[in-house]
């Protein structure tokens, strides 16, 4: 009998949670439709994702095709963004490069989110010495200023786009872990977690099936904000020659080659940088809107 009552209570709590999720979704939809800046961000991101998909269809030229007689041609009707020092069409390279630049950003955030969320859930749920150890590890990771931790990792693993993805991902781990840890500590104290535990659920089920869905909001907000930083960091590392290597059309690497022609062909550096800036702006606008919609506590 007692078990039946507990089950009914748990189901009620689960229903209430579902309603809260629905309310959150409605609040998200209304903020996204009312907040023009967030909508603009979503449109920008959508346009870039579309560009990634249709790059091979809409690119006017082969991004790797060298044509020395066309080298350093300024923007024209034939080459909208001009050509680079090897005569390659900059627009086509930018279109194809979107796959690399955006892909690295998403992959590194997913990498960081996976490990960060897992560590945060474990630290927040178990507390005590487990939390102390994980928190100290996170403190150490946060003690490296800016992209220096990423640089340290690349110095060991060697340059390359995959290693940049790992390095930038590692740099995101503590940021996800901190947020998830805090939210987990709050959620685990709620009644329905006790109810589920009473029903005999094990720690793994409680953490990943019942706590995780309830700490998703701050993760989504953090994820969208981190995407902007991850894309910037990965492009920065490629700019330094530590990420994508020539002739890759990754935007940071293109910007790096454009630097040598700043006097004679500034458009070589202007367009890749502009593409990165607009994308990051899109993620920032979208992230601000998401934060307002999903996590009013973080509004500041």
């Amino acid at each position: 009998m007692a078990s039946k009552v507990t089950t009914a209570q748990t189901m009620e709590l689960a229903k209430a949670r579902q309603n809260t999720r629905k309310e959150r979704w409605h609040s998200f939809r209304s903020v996204m439709t009312q907040n023009k800046a967030a909508l603009a961000g979503a449109i920008i991101i959508g346009a870039y994702l579309l560009m990634m998909l249709v790059a091979p269809i809409i690119a006017p030229y082969d991004p790797f095709e060298i044509s020395l007689e066309d080298k350093l041609t300024p923007p024209s009707m034939e080459h909208w963004m001009g050509t680079d020092d090897k005569g390659r069409d900059i627009l086509s390279r930018i279109l194809y490069g979107s796959r690399l630049s955006i892909g690295v950003g998403f992959a590194s955030v997913l990498f960081g989110a996976f490990f960060g969320i897992t560590l945060g859930l474990i630290a927040g749920y178990y507390g005590k010495w487990v939390d102390t150890i994980i928190s100290r590890i996170l403190d150490v990771m946060l003690a490296f200023p800016g992209i220096l931790l990423a640089l340290a990792i690349i110095s060991a693993l060697g340059p390359g786009l995959i290693n940049v993805t790992i390095a930038v991902g590692v740099f995101s781990i503590p940021l996800f872990a901190r947020i998830v840890r805090g939210s987990t500590m709050e959620v685990k104290k709620l009644e329905y977690i006790d109810a589920i535990r009473t029903l005999g659920a094990n720690d793994f089920t409680i953490i990943f099936k019942h706590i995780f869905p309830n700490v998703l909001s701050p993760i989504i907000v953090q994820g969208s904000m981190r995407l902007a930083t991850a894309i910037l960091s990965a492009a920065g590392l490629s700019f330094l020659g530590l990420g994508a290597q020539p002739p890759s059309p990754e935007w940071g690497a293109m910007l790096s080659s454009g630097r040598d022609f700043l006097f004679s062909a500034p458009y070589m550096a202007i367009f890749p940088g502009l593409m990165i800036s607009i994308l990051v702006l899109g993620f920032n606008l979208f992230g601000d809107g998401l934060r307002d919609a999903l996590d009013p506590k973080l509004k500041k």
Partner: protein, 306 residues
């Protein structure tokens, strides 16, 4: 306060040890034989073995780490693989340049950020507020390495007002410091605005206005003072990303600072130099954070006393 500083110092010891551990692990993570990398390409087996013996790479990892920490605390960061000179000597040459760049950049971050934040908060949701916040959002979104190139193109190539690169005189400082400081200024502006709006909504501000105090007096004497508290933390955090940002900006403007040294060392696989550079930059960041915490506490205490 003294106790607080002691407590914070005690808290950073494990962090410092952790940082040394991560830096030490760089060498362990290298694929292949670290001794062969340190000995350089084309080194004979004998030389590689000699390196292994000299650097203690044949000892257990824990023993190697303890020896590394011992050396670090004695100021021995090893020798560069490139020029065989002590890493610390090179860092001591480069660090002042980076710190000077960071200092001017943080100055720009604070002055520009506070001014923009206050301008926005005084008349919220006005055209002025929206314009400043849009500029701030752009400031956050522009990659520093691109902004640096644009500024260089405009002021050095086109207008020829400022030198293109290098670190020879005061004019050389302007563009790199501006490039590095703008992003932080945008974040500080957003934080100042948000914090000011919070404070302006408080009862005591309404009381101050009801007393008939002039608006600028209310804003600058009453609101700003309290609004600055959370801003201090943001400025402290900005110092970290700024220090990391020097890596990119020093590369754009060909400045021989610590950041550029680390990048060059990664390119040439000069691992002791990378380890030393990353370690020193991180330690500077840890101590700046400590300083910010102490400042934050001092400001809070003063307000409590008042």
């Amino acid at each position: 306060m003294f106790l607080f500083i002691l407590k914070r110092l005690a808290q950073i010891i494990p962090v410092i040890l952790g940082v040394t551990l991560v830096v030490f692990l760089i060498m362990q993570m290298v694929p292949g034989d670290p001794a062969a990398i340190l000995a350089g390409e084309g080194a004979s087996q004998e030389t590689i073995e000699q390196y292994r013996e000299d650097l203690g790479l044949n000892r257990p990892v824990v023993e190697q780490y303890l020896s590394y920490v011992g050396n670090v605390f004695q100021g021995d960061l090893g020798n560069s693989l490139k020029n065989k000179q002590p890493v610390l000597d090179e860092i001591l040459l480069r660090l002042p340049i980076t710190m000077e760049l960071a200092f001017y950049s943080i100055l720009i971050t604070i002055v520009l950020g506070l001014a923009a934040g206050i301008i926005s908060a005084v008349k919220p949701y006005s055209v002025r507020d929206v314009s400043v916040m849009v500029i701030a959002l752009l400031g956050i979104s522009l990659p520093s390495f691109w902004l640096g190139l644009l500024l260089m193109y405009l002021f050095s190539v086109k207008l020829q007002w400022l030198p293109v690169a290098g670190w020879d005189g005061p004019l050389n400082i302007i563009l790199p410091a501006l490039t590095l400081g703008v992003g932080g200024a945008a974040i500080v502006a957003r934080m100042t605005r948000s914090s000011m709006l919070d404070v302006i909504g408080q009862d005591y501000i309404r009381t101050a206005r009801a007393k008939g105090l002039k608006e600028h007096f209310v804003i600058y004497k009453h609101a700003l003072r309290n609004a600055l508290i959370p801003v201090i933390t943001v400025v402290g955090l900005q110092f970290g990303s700024l220090l990391g940002g020097t890596v990119l900006v020093e590369s754009v403007f060909a400045i021989n600072g610590l950041g550029r040294m680390i990048v060059d060392a990664i390119r040439t696989r000069d691992l002791p130099m990378v380890q030393g550079g990353v370690l020193v930059a991180s330690l500077v960041f840890v101590f700046v954070n400590l300083l910010v915490d102490v400042m934050y506490r001092a400001v809070n205490k003063r307000i409590d006393l008042n």
